[in-house]
């Protein structure tokens, strides 16, 4: 292996560290008009009147639009990922009659500058009639609850059961049953670059749309469908994208409004969301209420898990029920759970809609089972590591069929990995056996230390497919890889180039990767669900091997050798035993398009290109994963809590991950550590908080706390590598595992630290303030029995 598995430095970095990146806001467009959005200040209200007159009359305002002016565009946005049990509601591009969450777009103004457009928003005369607010899912389901969507007839968007085995009998026959409620708070995604769109029309009614999105082909398809255009009329490009994490992976109203206005006005229109818009109106996640129970034998073996949960979905279901569904099927994780029952109820409330955020439902599922295991250990008098070891699936039990199905209907079967070994490695790294002594030493100093553990499964590699086009330039010999999956910082320009260089046999320096441009490749899916290494990596590999095959055939003709006897090394096709007989890929690419008109004839006398030959060294390959991949790992942390202030400090954080074959260890490490940092935000600091009227109380970074370098400790990584047997490159995906188990680990560690106070935390984030309130309930007194 020349390139795969190596920590090669990133190709994308040079432009980004010199200020030459091009993010959406940086894309220049002469004559661009700027759109600003008037957003609802109410969580639930009827729109009585909108008068745009004054705004329209304001100097340099070109247009002002509310629902009434949308005409044929006044229809509901399409949804992604439908489900038969889902009574789906999606928003209109601008609110019709009524608003359902704070931040919902109500009107837009287009002006010659963003400053002026924002000025003019102030001049829109709008009158609301406030309606009762549905603030949480429990209230939403009460008989007299106000309805968000009359058409649905209730606030239940979907009620779905996922199960395997017979949980009821298992509970009836269990030695021990434990129960707990859990509340997982609502987080905002918060990529550092907010969302934005720029649409540039041409005189023929075609559009170039620049969009800070994760899925260019999908978003283009949705936009053209909505606007009544053909795919060929629109090129959609995601330039450098300043973080996505799921927030930029669906169709928002602004992505309809900007291109529509550009077509209407015949001029480029640009919208770049500001931070307050992003905190209020970019879709959010987590937010679930669980009532879970676990049945066990007296020696701590899990017999069954049962969970009823409410998913607070917010006002619309733009992404179906992906989040709660993923939670349900994630709960068993790496453990043997022979009987399982999860009933999820997805509920409409007057909050910003929920859609997948990094981890997408998985952190909630892991939180449920790991907290149940901690409780069970306590009840059974078992060590929290021991109970996990007794239930982890062993390698010899693989392939292990969980009995559950993924959201694309595939069986959840784990094929490879050594879960007990990963767990043991993490225990060793964190000196688990020495911890009690450390804890006691700290206690002697009046300090409170706790240890937390959690295991996870990261379901990745979702289809349906990803594509790649590999082309050797006939003039320069350099190679371009085009793929539908763009990068939001994951480093695809580097990892996918490594795959291409390795499989084609060219220099890494000669490969350029283009992602996130519908003009570069015909079909694509996008970057989400840790799928790019699996679906995209294997697509690049497949396309590179096709180009290689074709190059070797033609190379055989040129070198008068059997293609089987040829190899490609750093861009040169050479005879294996006689490397001086060689020809460059560049020359082969040139011959393939221009075999005889060049300055010299390249083909041997009397030979010619085969009759069925196609020009160019250029091949596309679309890879459809045959099975899901399941990465796995263990997290462990040592946390200190100060009971007088409830301050939480993470002393150590350990991750052992196994994401199959590693394309670039530096990038995998970066993904894992970055994930843990977001997880610590979810676990301790970040929560969207609303008052009783549904007002957002965390609409700035003064209130919504993103962890800084002071809150995130250095993270120690251990590593395992079990190749995935179902895809050629053996990869599994590593984008989300880092974030998934963190809340479970932190709560576990905090409870351990404060065990003498009888503290048991069931919420995430377990912010210092919440912990302080819990400690106040105990009156700050330690139980004398040390329990």
């Amino acid at each position: 292996m020349r390139y795969l598995g190596k920590a090669l430095p990133r190709k994308e970095d040079l432009r980004l560290i010199t200020g030459n990146g091009r993010y959406l806001a940086d894309i220049e467009s002469k004559n661009a008009l700027h759109m600003a959005v008037l957003r609802s200040p109410h969580a639930h209200a009827r729109i009585v009147k909108i008068d745009l007159t004054k705004a329209k009359q304001f100097p340099e305002v070109i247009a002002a639009v509310s629902f009434e002016q949308l005409g044929a565009m006044g229809k509901k946005l399409p949804m992604l990922v439908p489900h038969p049990a889902l009574r789906s509601e999606t928003p209109y591009p601008l609110a019709k009659d009524k608003v359902n969450y704070v931040g919902e777009p109500v009107a837009v103004v287009v002006a010659t500058s963003r400053y002026i457009a924002e000025d003019a928003l102030e001049l829109i005369d709008i009158e609301y009639d406030a309606l009762p607010v549905v603030g949480n899912p429990e209230d939403a389901l009460k008989a007299d609850a106000p309805l968000l969507h009359m058409e649905v007839g209730s606030n239940t968007a979907a009620m779905i059961i996922e199960k395997t085995g017979d949980a009821q009998s298992a509970f009836a026959n269990a030695d021990v049953v434990i129960r707990s409620k859990f509340r997982i708070g609502r987080c905002s995604v918060q990529p550092m670059e907010s969302r934005g769109v720029l649409a540039i029309p041409d005189t023929l009614g075609n559009l170039t749309i620049w969009d800070s999105t994760q899925s260019v082909h999908t978003i283009r398809r949705l936009i053209v469908g909505f606007l009544g255009l053909e795919e060929q009329q629109v090129r959609l490009i995601a330039p450098d994208v300043g973080g996505g994490f799921g927030a930029k992976n669906r169709l928002y109203p602004e992505e309809i409004l900007v291109p529509w206005l550009a077509l209407q006005l015949g001029r480029p229109v640009k919208w770049v969301g500001d931070r307050m818009e992003d905190l209020m109106a970019s879709y959010q996640e987590r937010d679930q209420w669980h009532e879970a129970e676990m049945a066990l034998t007296k020696d701590g073996k899990i017999l069954a898990v049962r969970d009823h949960f409410l998913a607070d979905n917010g006002a619309y279901t733009p992404f179906g029920i992906v989040v709660p569904y993923t939670t349900a099927i994630t709960i068993p994780g790496p453990y043997k759970v022979p009987n399982f029952y999860a009933q999820m109820t997805c509920v409409y409330t007057n909050k910003t809609p929920v859609a997948p955020y990094r981890g997408a439902g998985r952190p909630q599922g892991v939180f449920v089972i790991e907290r149940l295991l901690d409780l069970a250990a306590e009840q059974l008098g078992l060590d929290k590591a021991e109970i996990r070891l007794r239930n982890l699936i062993h390698t010899k039990e693989m392939p292990y069929d969980t009995g559950l199905f993924s959201r694309d209907g595939r069986k959840m079967i784990y094929h490879s990995g050594d879960y007990p070994q990963a767990f043991q490695q993490a225990l060793d790294m964190i000196d688990y056996n020495e911890f009690q002594k450390l804890k006691e030493d700290y206690r002697k100093e009046g300090r409170y230390l706790g240890i937390g553990l959690a295991n996870y499964i990261e379901m990745a590699g979702l289809g349906p497919f990803e594509g790649a086009k590999v082309k050797v330039d006939p003039v320069t010999g350099k190679v371009t890889v085009s793929t539908g999956a763009g990068s939001q910082g994951q480093g695809h320009e580097t990892t996918l180039a490594q795959v291409c260089a390795e499989r084609l046999g060219v220099s890494f320096d000669d490969v350029k990767v283009v992602g996130g441009d519908t003009g570069a490749i015909e079909y694509g899916v996008g970057t989400w669900a840790s799928r790019v290494a699996v679906a995209g990596g294997n697509a690049v590999s497949g396309a590179a091997l096709k180009v290689r095959d074709k190059a070797l055939k033609l190379g055989g003709l040129v070198l008068q050798a059997d293609p089987m006897d040829l190899d490609i090394v750093e861009g040169m096709i050479q005879v294996k035993n006689d490397p001086d007989r060689n020809v460059s890929l560049q020359k082969i690419a040139m011959i393939s398009v221009d075999p005889s008109r060049s300055t010299q004839r390249h083909l041997p006398e009397g030979s010619h290109l085969p009759d069925d030959f196609q020009p160019g060294l250029e091949e596309s390959f679309y890879y459809y994963p045959s099975a899901l991949t399941f990465a796995n790992g263990t997290h462990a942390a040592i946390v200190e809590v100060d009971p007088s202030t409830a301050a939480i400090k993470v002393h150590r954080y350990i991750v052992v991950d196994d994401c199959g074959k590693v394309l670039n260890p530096m990038i995998v490490k970066g993904q894992v550590i970055g994930g843990v940092a977001q997880g610590l935000g979810n676990a301790i600091y970040e929560e969207m908080i609303h008052d009783n009227n549904g007002q957002v109380l965390t609409a700035t970074y003064m209130d919504y706390m993103i962890p800084t370098s002071m809150e995130v400790p250095d993270i120690q990584l251990g590593h395992m590598e079990s190749p995935d047997p179902n895809n050629p490159e053996g990869v599994k995906g590593c984008g989300e595992g880092g974030v998934v188990p963190v809340p479970a680990v932190i709560n576990s560690a905090i409870d351990d630290a404060l065990s003498s106070f009888g503290i048991y935390t069931t919420e995430t984030p377990v912010s210092p303030f919440k912990l302080w309130k819990l400690l106040k309930k105990t009156k700050g007194e330690e139980k004398t029995d040390g329990n």
Binding site: I17, G489, Q490
Partner: protein
């Protein structure tokens, strides 16, 4: 807003002097990005928390989203575009960020580079904890900070071995081309 309320300002950005007319309310970040075409400075939160828009103004780091363009009149500004030498040689911090994988999406990176540059001037031999504190005014959502701390640590070593550490790293020595 109408054009009759413009102020003339002169700013020296990355060694090059610019005279322009701006509205009093126009933010320095917008002056740099929209008027001068220097889009390396990014606008992240527009309320002074995230630090993505950090630039040096008269040798002090400022949030360019909290400074009006008119306040920068007669000031010397350094943006990320001026951090490397005029011949394209990268600043040790830029080298170190690349070497240590101190960036992922890269959006917050220019702000980090400027903040770290000033920090290393004030404290050329920092401990790891001091680095963490030194960059704590900048938010990054991708890296988890660890690699950024590694990068600043590496840059400190590079600078301490380098003669140019005796000169003021955050003062532009040569004129840089405006725009990209």
């Amino acid at each position: 807003m109408t054009q009759n309320n413009l102020n003339n300002i002169t700013v020296t950005v990355n060694g090059k002097e610019h005279s322009l007319s701006v509205e009093p309310r126009m933010l320095l970040s917008d002056v740099l990005r929209d008027e001068l075409g220097l889009t390396g400075t990014h606008v992240g939160c527009e309320h002074g928390i995230c630090g993505a828009c950090t630039v040096m103004m008269d040798e002090r780091p400022v949030r360019s989203c909290l400074v009006f363009g008119v306040q920068a009149n007669q000031a010397k500004i350094l943006t990320v575009e001026g951090l490397s030498n005029a011949d394209g040689t990268l600043h040790p911090l830029q080298e170190a960020f690349r070497e240590k994988h101190g960036l992922q999406c890269g959006f917050c990176t220019p702000g980090f580079l400027i903040s770290a540059c000033h920090f290393l001037e004030e404290n050329p031999h920092p401990s790891r904890e001091e680095i963490r504190e030194g960059i704590s005014g900048n938010l990054c959502r991708c890296t988890g900070y660890q690699n950024i701390v590694d990068a600043v640590e590496m840059a400190a070593e590079m600078l301490s071995k380098d003669k140019i550490s005796e000169t003021d790293q955050c003062t532009v020595q040569a004129e840089h081309p405006a725009g990209i």
